[in-house]
Amino acid sequence: MRKLVARVSPYALIGACAGFLYHAATQIDFHRRAGTIGPDVWPKLVLGLMIATCLYEIVRVVLSRGRRGGAAGVLQDMVEESEARYGGGNVYAGAKSPLLLAAGIALTALYVWIVQPLGFVLATAPYLAAFIALGGYRRWGVNAAVSLIGTLAMMFFFMKVVYVSLPIGGEPFAQVTLALMRLMGIR
């Protein structure tokens, strides 16, 4: 029963979201012209097909009691057949770590959150160092050098060569960025 619920729930969730968006599509505000279809038709068509596909998959999973085995893509079939015959090419053999993944996502979100107030340099160097350490790399000197030199190189390239105005941060952090920019000859 739990397997069945687990297999059905993604489709139920997607179907419910599609239903909500279909409702939102019916509320699209526009000036209708006589005899022409409006901007709501295309999204409604897509959402209708999406809901129908979810319903089909839910019914199929329930009828097959949670077993996998719907139609697969042609390439997938080819890959599976060939790998069964000649051996696979799986490069990654490590055990999964959902905690590490959650930490990685949280760290990246934190970086995006702080990059504007702290500025590119002050946010990026610690982020890179933390990311590399989180990934299990334990040579601290190399980590610090790679993070710092990489950050400065990216700052130089994007601000001086590609002319992208990276965040310089708010006060007092902006002073650090501005000092570095002066040192690198970035205006």
């Binding site: 526009f30 005899g35 022409t36 279809i37 901007p39 038709v41 295309w42 999204p43 897509v46 097909l49 999406m50 596909t53 979810c54 089909y56 998959e57 996998r68 719907g70 139609a71 697969a72 893509g73 042609v74 390439l75 997938q76 079939d77 080819m78 890959v79 060939s82 015959r85 000649y86 051996g87 090419g89 490069v91 990654y92 053999a93 055990a95 999964k96 770590s97 959902p98 590490l100 990685g104 996502i105 990246t108 979100a109 970086y111 995006v112 990059v115 990026t124 890179l128 990311f131 590399i132 990934g135 299990g136 790399y137 990489g150 990216m154 390239f157 590609v162 992208v164 990276l166 965040p167």
Partner: protein, 500 residues
């Protein structure tokens, strides 16, 4: 004759120092990206895009195209030497390429790969140049129903080809089409799914979706696996030994079949080098003269997938340049670079900017030759990038994703969006929803909708027009067959299983 003149001018354009430098940089980056198992060629092209923002349009397109070509080649080295496919394209090379290396002839296996990439790449480039103008002339006669039908075919083929579940691929595609509708509608100026968030009024750029889903999503997936790739075997020295002309001539049929198949698969929107590689190997294993020995380390097993993979690039460039329809992730980025520089690919591009188009065509020839030269002389140095810890490479991939998203509009909201799409990309992989249909849906969605709406307005809301016009009708029927084929295959297999 006129084409040859344009092409000659294109060659001159390629050898302008800035363009030639872009070509060499693109080739080296493409080779490196292909060697690294954590980076796919599409990811590589995505990550390179922001670096081309301030470049001249010709140099920018040449760089990205060079990366695309080289990305179909160098992954073979790691497949052959270490039994680690650099790209999904290179999985078929594990079967005969690695077997040949294990039989003590790694240098010869690398030589066969090089010759296959050279032959496939040059043949496809020739076909591309020969077909581009005639196809563009035909495309000029197309109306919106035909364009819609071609796009529909592309979407149908991407659903039909990939993924472990057809339903999941369809849902992924619909999600992509839906993401493409977010923002202010072009015809009516109506806000769709913006929910009062100002940044959503500008819509969600497909680059944001691509960078997030392909780039960040992949890094998150690797992170969950603790960045623990399989340990590499030690290889004393990497050398390439080319096959003799007689040896190559003995399997000319394999070269021809692989090249032709690669071009045709490249032409189909939605398919690409990976499909070409697997399909070509499959055909050789089924119909080749030495089909019984496939998998034991014979040259046919190397040549078939490699010629097809490299020649698919030439094929994929045709719909992009002549119709403005990108059929794969990499060509979508190249199209993005065209648009960023104010150039719309399509049949008119031969009138307005033929010098750029032919410079790009010429760069494919020069790129294929350059890639093989670099491969011959520098493979031993380039594979050393595998010694870099994966976590450091991944950290920089994340930074390139973030900077790429930020640089496009100088907006931090785009960076938040790529984090969101990174998580979406990860969840898609986890729950077995293929990412490619979603991305292609976002790319082709606006084109599909515009052509659908214009057709409806022009033909009094008569939807049967897609089926009653000869060209669009044929393509629509072909699309339905493409969509139904996996289902029929599945039903046939079930019936066969039930019978046994």
């Amino acid at each position: 004759m006129e084409v040859l003149q344009h092409l000659a001018a294109g060659f001159l354009e390629v050898f302008v120092p800035a363009n030639f430098a872009a070509l060499v940089v693109g080739l080296v980056l493409g080779l490196l990206v292909a060697v690294l198992p954590g980076l796919t060629l599409v990811m590589g092209v995505v990550l390179a895009l922001p670096f081309t923002y301030t470049m001249d349009v010709t140099a920018a397109i040449i760089l990205l195209t060079a990366m695309y070509i080289a990305g179909t080649y160098a992954g073979a080295w790691t497949s052959i030497l270490f039994h680690v496919p650099g790209e999904p394209i290179d999985v078929p090379l594990l079967w005969d390429g690695y077997a040949m290396a294990r039989n003590g002839d790694a240098a010869k296996a690398l030589g066969w790969t090089l010759v296959a990439a050279l032959v496939g790449g040059l043949a496809a480039a020739t076909v591309m140049v020969a077909l581009a103008q005639p196809v563009a002339r035909i495309a000029l006669t197309f109306s919106t129903p035909e364009y819609f039908a071609i796009i529909f075919f592309g979407l149908a083929s991407v659903v039909s080809l990939g993924g472990s579940s057809l339903a999941n691929a369809l849902i992924s595609l619909f999600a992509g089409l839906l993401i493409a509708t977010v923002g202010v509608d072009d015809t009516y100026g109506a806000h769709r799914f913006t929910f009062g968030v100002p940044i959503l009024s500008d819509g969600i750029d497909y680059l944001v979706v691509m960078v997030g889903a392909f780039g960040l999503g992949e890094v998150f997936l690797r992170m969950e696996q603790r960045f623990t790739s399989m340990p590499l075997q030690s290889v004393d020295k990497v050398t390439t030994r080319l096959p003799t002309l007689r040896e190559a001539g003995a399997i000319k049929g394999t070269f021809a079949r692989g090249t032709l198949l690669g071009i045709v698969v490249g032409l189909v929107p939605g398919a690409g080098a990976t499909v070409a590689s697997f399909l070509s190997y499959g055909i050789e294993a089924q119909y080749g003269a030495r089909k019984a020995q496939m998998g034991s380390g014979i040259p046919e097993g190397i040549v078939a997938p490699q010629t097809a993979a490299t020649s698919s690039v030439g094929g994929a460039m045709i719909p992009l340049i002549t119709m403005g329809i990108p059929g794969s992730g990499a060509t979508a980025i190249i199209m993005g670079a065209f648009l960023l520089h104010g150039l719309q690919p399509g049949p008119q591009v031969f009138e307005t900017s033929s010098h750029i188009v032919y410079a790009v065509f010429a760069s494919v020839f020069v790129g294929v030759i350059g890639m093989c030269l670099i491969g011959y002389f520098a493979a031993r140095y380039l594979v050393r990038i595998l010694e870099l810890p994966e976590v450091i490479v991944s950290a920089y991939v994340v930074m390139c994703c973030i900077l790429g998203a930020f640089a496009a509009r100088n907006n931090i909201t785009d960076v938040w969006l790529i984090v969101v799409f990174g998580v979406v990309g990860y969840l898609c992989e986890r729950w077995r929803f293929p990412v490619a249909p979603m991305v292609l849906g976002v790319i082709l969605g606006p084109l599909a909708e515009t052509n659908f709406m214009t057709t409806m307005i022009s033909f009094d809301n008569d939807w049967t027009v897609f089926l009653t016009r000869p060209i669009s009708g044929t393509i629509m029927v072909l699309s339905l067959v493409t969509l139904l084929y996996p289902l029929l295959r599945h039903l046939r297999r079930r019936t066969r299983l039930a019978a046994t």
